[in-house]
Symmetry: C2
Subunit: 205 residues, 2 copies
DNA sequence: GGGCACATTAGACCGGCGGTCCAACCCGTG
DNA sequence: CACGGGTTGGACCGCCGGTCTAATGTGCCC
């Protein structure tokens, strides 16, 4: 977490720092990103940076929080599907997935940041930040799965943790694959249902 | 690739270097591993290390190649299923998966290395090494998928590249989940068919 | 056996990294 | 005006991966 002082800064200076950090992190990934370059680009001194943030990881986590937060905001709130029937359940998820991918496609640096975030999973320096975001996402995942089980859309014979891992893994793989292709609205609209269909088949009772 | 000179070294010194590197890489992951520590632990000088290897990435790739090579050797050759019928096709794959996981379970450092290898995917310093291993694995994946399609076990309405990505992602997620659990032979034997079953459902026509 | 050429080794050195530290400066208050 | 806490600049630290070269083996030819 940034120190409270950071939020007292003039908005434009906060922006300058966050912008520089987003550029650097999305362009190089966490490990290869240089805090010194961010500091230069933001036009502040090292002392100030460490006066506002605990260090590189803290800055990264904050940028990710802010940008991914904006992303989810732009895509609307997480729906916890209340469907009583499998088809309805899965179509709710399809809609949401489409909204997220659309939002991502409209902002390449954020997409790069998200990609980096999701692949940096094993980095020991990031456990803290990862856990934090995981903790924010997990309850939703769990709720969604339980709702799915209630709608008879999701199997009950496998530990929830494993289901989450698998969905996460499939989603990640699909996202990565998507991001390496040309992303026009048309194909996206065609592919997302295919993706959800595969997840659906894997999870169905 | 290590320089040819490396292979002319007395076997025990090669072993010392590879052992030190395996310990360090499996314990810290690629980024956090320290080449200097490996050098100290192996009891050689920096000059020698760089005389035998191009650098950190080269050493890592070599260790991974050797250790994962041993792993696959221990698990027997990649089967390209020749089944003519879905059930036979999937049971061939189940057997193989079980053999690999068994081999992994018997050697924690190699398991850690494999975990690190698979999660380090986005590291720009490793693209070379990643591509190399991918190139070695891809043809087998493709053959297996095509064989699966021939056995009417795998759908044909989705690009092969996407299928591979999804299978890879699911496999990775399952592996990671497995490695965070207690790995006794019993549960493994129960879980692997469930995994393969999920992959099967996602891929079936 | 002596001299030479080449393979090998040791480790000082380089720029850059993330992170620490403290003197100097700014600015509101008494 | 003087003080004192909030803020800033940037020198400094230990470590990183990587380079370079002088010294040291080592085997071969005359």
């Amino acid at each position: 977490m940034p120190r409270p002082r950071f939020h007292k800064l003039p908005a434009e200076q906060q922006q300058a720092i966050l912008h520089a950090a987003l550029e650097e992190f999305s362009g190089h990934g966490f490990n290869a990103a240089s805090l010194n370059r961010i500091i230069d680009a933001a036009g502040i001194s090292k002392g100030s940076m460490y006066y506002y943030f605990d260090g590189k990881e803290d800055l990264y986590a904050h940028v990710a929080r802010v940008e991914l937060g904006r992303l989810f905001e732009a895509a609307g709130p997480f729906p916890v599907p209340s469907a009583r029937e499998p088809n309805a359940f899965w179509s709710t998820l399809t809609d949401y997935y489409l909204r997220i991918m659309g939002a991502l496609a409209s902002s390449p640096p954020v997409a790069a940041l998200a990609r980096g975030w999701v692949t940096a999973s094993a980095n020991p320096a990031l456990v803290q930040a990862q856990k934090e975001m995981e903790a924010a996402l997990l309850p939703w995942f769990e709720q969604a799965l339980v709702a799915g089980q209630r709608a008879r859309a999701v199997r009950k014979d496998v530990p929830t943790g494993l289901l989450i891992a698998v969905v996460f893994g499939m989603g990640q793989a699909m996202d990565m694959w998507l991001m390496t292709q040309e992303l026009d609205e048309e194909t996206l609209r065609k592919l997302v249902p295919v993706f959800i269909g595969m997840i659906r088949k894997a999870l169905s009772p």
